[in-house]
C-alpha cells in the first residue's frame, strides 16, 4: 500500500504523481492542494486534480549516509534523494532508485517508478522513486 495516500496513482501500470492545477492562474502544486498558492490569484475557483508527466530532469541529488531515527528508521542508509524538474515547471524531491554516484548526473533524464520503501510483518509500504532513464548513465 502507498505509504501516504494521495501522492501517486495506485494501483497502476504507469503510476503518476497527483498534483493540482488552478483553473484560473494555472499554478500547479504537488502534492495536490485544496487552495491555489499563487498570491496574485483571486481564488474564485478551487484547484483541479491533474497527473504529472512521468519523466523529468535531475536538478540535484545527494546520497544519505545515516539511518533516520524512529519513527522513520525504515529510511536505511545509504539512500539517494533527488530533486527533479518536471515539464510542468516544478521541482519535486523524491527517492532515487540507485545510490551509485556513477549512474547519477545533474541534467540527466529520470523516470517515475513506484516501489517498496519497506515492509513490516503485515504490509508492504510503497513510495515513488526516480529512476535514471536507460542510456543516460
Amino acid at each position: 500500500m502507498p505509504i501516504v495516500e494521495g501522492l501517486f496513482t495506485w494501483p497502476s501500470d504507469k503510476p503518476q504523481l497527483i498534483a493540482s492545477k488552478c483553473p484560473l492562474c494555472g499554478s500547479i502544486q504537488f502534492p495536490a492542494s485544496n487552495v491555489c498558492n499563487n498570491p496574485e490569484c483571486d481564488h474564485e475557483k478551487p484547484p483541479e486534480k491533474i497527473l504529472l508527466s512521468t519523466e523529468g530532469t535531475l536538478y540535484s541529488y545527494t546520497i544519505h549516509m545515516y539511518d533516520l531515527r524512529p519513527p522513520f528508521e525504515y529510511h536505511k542508509a545509504p539512500f539517494a534523494i533527488g530533486a527533479v524538474e518536471f515539464p510542468e515547471g516544478l521541482i519535486i524531491v523524491g527517492r532515487l532508485t540507485t545510490t551509485d554516484e556513477k549512474k547519477l548526473k545533474i541534467g540527466m533524464k529520470v523516470r517515475l517508478k513506484v516501489s517498496e520503501l519497506y515492509a513490516d510483518e503485515e504490509k508492504s509500504y510503497l513510495t515513488y522513486f526516480f529512476e535514471p532513464v536507460e542510456g543516460e548513465e
Binding site: Y59, S60, T62, Y66, I81, G89, V93, G94
Partner: protein, 411 residues
C-alpha cells in the same frame, strides 16, 4: 522619527542538546538578569517582554518541557511581574531576529519604550523530526521526511551540489570551500567562552570526518545544542541615558516563503510553478534587501556579518546573498581568508552556529550578542581589526522563516 537601540545583551553558555538541568527557565534568567543590570533597569521598568522558545512536535516528549505559548509570561513571573505586555514569538531558526524586529516595531510605534527580548531552546538530538503532526497534517509540507526520508542536511547538500554544478566546479571544490569555512569559524569558536565547541578544526579534519550526505561531511553541519540569550531594547532617547554606546537598530525585517522561488527548500516536496525568479534563494535575499532599503544603505556599507550557518554551505550562500555579487567573489573572499577578524569582511566572529551548535529558537541571540560586542569594540581576542560602523545579522529557518537585523553604532 523614533529610533530604537540595544543597550545590553547577554547569552548563556551553549551546552549539549537535551540538557535538562538546570531548566530552560533557570538558565535563561541568568542572561536576562545580566541584561537588565547592564541596562541599569529593574523588571518593573519593562513595558514589554518578547520571548521565543520551541513548539515543534519533536519525537522525544521529555524535551517538550517548555512551551512557546507562555514562555514570555513565565519569564515575567520568574523575574518579577507587573503586567508588562508579554509576546511569544515562534518562527523556527529566525525567531530571535523576529523577536528583535517586534521590539523595534513596538518602540517605533510608541507602544513601548523599554523591551526585554530573549529566547531559549533545547534542541532535539539527531535529525529533526518534521513528520506530520496530528493537529497539523498537511500533505504539502508535513510528509517529505516520512515519504522521501529527506532531512534538512539533504536539502543543503543538494543546494551545495547545484551551486558547484552551476559554476562548472567539481564536488571536491565545494567540499574544500566548506571545509575552509569550518576551519575559520572554529578558530573563533575556540576564543568564545560561550561556545560549546572550542576545538579548532583544520580543512583536513573536516574532509576526514564521515560523509552525512555528499558533499556535506559531519563537521560541515552544526550540532544541536541548548542555550539562550537576552537583550534590552530602548528608544534611543532613553538608551542614551543608560549607556554611552547604544547600538542602534538601523533596520529589522521579517521574511516568509516567496511564490516563484526556484530552488527546492525545506521542508517542502516541491517548488512553485508560475514565473520563476532568475536567481535562486529569493527568500534569503528579500529580507536583506528590505533591510538595506530600510536602513538607507547598500551591501557595501555592511562591515561585518553574523549569519545563520547551520551548515558551512549556509555561510557561503549568505555571503552570496548579502553581497549580491558573483559567486566567484564569495569563493575568493573565503579562500583568501578575508572573513577572519583581520579580513576585509569578517563573518561569524562569534564562531557561528558551527561552533555553538544550534539552539533553534534562540540562535539569533548569539549573532546579535556578537554584533553588539563587535560594534562596541568589546569582543576581546575576536574583535575585528577593521573599523566597524554597521553589522548585519541574518537568520534563516524552516518553512521560509527569515529575519534580517542591521545594527549600527548609535554614538
Amino acid at each position: 522619527m523614533t529610533e530604537s537601540a540595544i543597550v545590553s545583551a547577554a547569552i548563556t553558555d551553549w551546552m549539549e542538546a537535551g540538557t535538562a538541568t538546570p531548566t530552560a527557565i533557570e538558565r535563561l534568567t541568568v542572561p536576562v538578569i545580566e541584561a537588565l543590570k547592564r541596562a541599569k533597569i529593574k523588571p518593573k521598568d519593562l513595558d514589554a517582554i518578547i520571548m521565543n522558545t520551541t513548539a515543534l512536535p519533536f519525537s522525544e516528549p521529555s524535551y517538550i518541557t517548555i512551551s512557546a505559548q507562555h514562555f514570555a509570561h513565565r519569564i515575567a513571573e520568574k523575574i518579577g511581574s507587573h503586567g508588562a505586555q508579554c509576546i511569544n514569538v515562534c518562527a523556527a531558526c529566525a525567531s530571535g531576529a523576529i523577536a528583535l524586529a517586534t521590539a523595534d516595531a513596538m518602540i517605533k510605534a510608541g507602544s513601548a519604550k523599554t523591551v526585554l527580548v530573549g529566547g531559549f531552546d533545547n534542541s532535539p538530538r539527531g535529525f529533526f523530526y518534521q513528520g506530520p503532526s496530528y493537529l497539523d497534517a498537511d500533505l504539502t509540507v508535513s510528509y517529505p521526511l516520512k515519504v522521501v526520508g529527506i532531512t534538512n542536511p539533504a536539502y543543503w547538500a543538494m543546494w551545495a551540489r547545484r551551486r558547484a554544478y552551476e559554476m562548472g566546479k567539481s564536488i571536491e571544490y565545494i567540499k574544500e570551500l566548506m571545509a575552509i569555512v569550518k576551519e575559520i569559524h572554529s578558530e573563533y569558536g575556540a576564543l568564545n567562552p560561550h561556545a560549546r565547541y572550542k576545538k579548532t578544526f583544520t580543512v583536513k579534519d573536516v574532509l576526514s570526518s564521515p560523509v552525512v550526505c555528499d558533499p556535506l561531511h559531519l563537521f560541515m553541519i552544526c550540532a544541536v545544542s541548548s542555550g539562550g540569550g537576552a537583550a534590552v531594547v530602548m528608544d534611543m532617547e532613553k538608551a542614551k541615558k543608560v549607556t554611552d554606546k547604544p547600538v542602534k537598530i538601523a533596520a529589522s525585517t521579517v521574511g516568509s516563503p516567496i511564490y516563484g522561488e526556484p530552488s527546492p527548500r525545506l521542508v517542502y516536496f516541491a517548488t512553485y510553478t508560475g514565473e520563476k525568479a532568475k536567481k535562486p534563494f529569493t527568500e534569503w535575499r528579500k529580507p536583506i534587501e528590505a533591510a538595506y532599503k530600510q536602513a538607507g544603505i547598500t551591501a557595501e556599507d555592511i562591515d561585518i556579518l553574523e549569519c545563520h550557518d547551520t551548515s558551512c554551505f549556509h555561510t557561503i550562500n549568505w555571503i552570496d546573498q548579502v553581497k549580491g555579487w558573483e559567486r566567484e567573489e564569495t569563493d575568493k573572499l573565503i579562500k583568501d581568508r578575508q572573513i577572519r577578524h583581520d579580513g576585509q569582511f569578517p563573518v561569524n566572529l562569534s564562531g557561528g552556529t558551527s561552533s555553538f551548535g544550534e539552539a533553534v529558537m534562540s540562535q539569533a541571540f548569539v549573532m546579535i550578542h556578537e554584533l553588539f560586542l563587535q560594534l562596541r569594540g568589546e569582543a576581546g581576542e575576536r574583535q575585528a581589526r577593521k573599523k566597524l560602523e554597521i553589522g548585519l545579522c541574518t537568520a534563516y529557518g524552516a518553512y521560509g522563516s527569515y529575519g534580517a537585523i542591521i545594527l549600527e553604532k548609535g554614538w
